[in-house]
Subunit: 302 residues, 2 copies
Amino acid sequence: MTAAPAAPGRVPNEAARLLIWIDGRLVDASDAGISPLDRGFTLADGLFETMRAYHGTVFRLDAHLRRLAAGAAILGIPVPADVPHMVAAAAGAVRDLGWADAALRLTMTRGVGPRGLAPPVGVDPTAVLTASALPPREPLPARSVRVCTATARRNEFAATAGVKTLAYVESVVALAHAHTAGDDDAIFLDTAGHVCEATSSNVFVVAGATLRTPPRECGVLPGITRAVVLELAGAMGLAAREDVIAPHDLAGADEAFLTSSIRELAPIAGVDGAQLPNGAPGPVTRRIAQAFAELVERECRP
Amino acid sequence: MTAAPAAPGRVPNEAARLLIWIDGRLVDASDAGISPLDRGFTLADGLFETMRAYHGTVFRLDAHLRRLAAGAAILGIPVPADVPHMVAAAAGAVRDLGWADAALRLTMTRGVGPRGLAPPVGVDPTAVLTASALPPREPLPARSVRVCTATARRNEFAATAGVKTLAYVESVVALAHAHTAGDDDAIFLDTAGHVCEATSSNVFVVAGATLRTPPRECGVLPGITRAVVLELAGAMGLAAREDVIAPHDLAGADEAFLTSSIRELAPIAGVDGAQLPNGAPGPVTRRIAQAFAELVERECRP
């Protein structure tokens, strides 16, 4: 799988600021390139990673690839050896086009299979990579979100808890409900009633100079930005730890924020209709976001 | 969407005894007909139904379509008006080819969308229909299965609990683990520890002349065959009810069996390595299976 060279003017979908590679081959967005028998389509039998490229460099690519490999081991899907090259080539194509930032999504499925759930043997995984140009990053207050608590619960007892499989329909439904209610996102609790995560972000709660985020045992996806925030906060002399968080800890927090690879940090302005006292963004959130931006510049500035 | 006429010798995939329609158009299995941006592929944002056609007639098609509509309402996906026609046309094509029985799978996704979880508006759903020829039905003892209890749990607190979404990767992983352990299928418990369902079947437990199957509250998919068995058992003078079932109720049952549209009834020969005393199949399972076969003949015989 090798990415076709991307030259401005010849690239499909450039008007839409979207590039798509299937198994390393650049295709047009209107191309129907996936088999209807692909198990990613029929059974959500696959994984994905969403990464942010800054100036043509994927932030923490190694961490994304490690997480992909860990998920692939749980599903029993072999990761094609050229996946790292595919992602780096896509980031390079984006840079050559002059896009500042881009969202890269790598989707990897078990491949095409016959009827039934049992994983077929000897099939080749399917790899799809999309690159979408991102608008300029918004300043911190503009990224603030109001969240509600989802009525559905995350399942910390799933074999795929914390694994970024294609099974995102629960998050789709929860996000649609949140939007209908006038909120920006929904916070899932786990089945024990502890705070877990938002529909596609991790959550941090700040009390005084202490940051807390739910541990893996609560079923959270181990976010790349989440891990970076834990590192940064420690280095800044803040107390930062994984800890079980009750809903009232979130509702009564001084500050809170979401993290994801695309949104980076998003301050939480309100929870279930009530504003957080030291709202969006509070001083700790601002400090972390500033440190995060500086880290990105150090690691990704050409 | 109208199904192309299917004539033997001109039909793609006839050698594989597999027919595929995408949005009503007959395609070849090697065709890559799905957009890489289809939300069924990227987010498991869709539903499916697996139906059995006998002699070219889909058993309980109306019940399948009602379940599809109920799931589509939860996901907020409009069901295309010609879906019933598509399924009936596929069953007719199968009959024209002389296949005795066939597994029909209807997959319906929200359609193609841009990046992100939020459901796009104004998109057309994608409908894929596959028909696979089934081998002659095995006699009852040959369908017996040994099951193990899955270590992962089903989430009865999901918004999509009991909805046949595309998010089947948990079942894929559990079935793979069961096969590795030398078992034929896995039984999920719900998060409270009650018996829920197998990876793609419902479960019934028989004690004396009483049949029990877990209720919707335990997160089970409301199986079409499950409903038919409850009807049949009542009509036969057996006590049949939905009831919370503990793992020791299953392990200590006189008889137990799985139900699904393709496998119909499958006797459970053993649970977690221990044989059921009145094994596979016991007298009640035999009576129900016989009544089920007679019902199918009445409803589907041309």
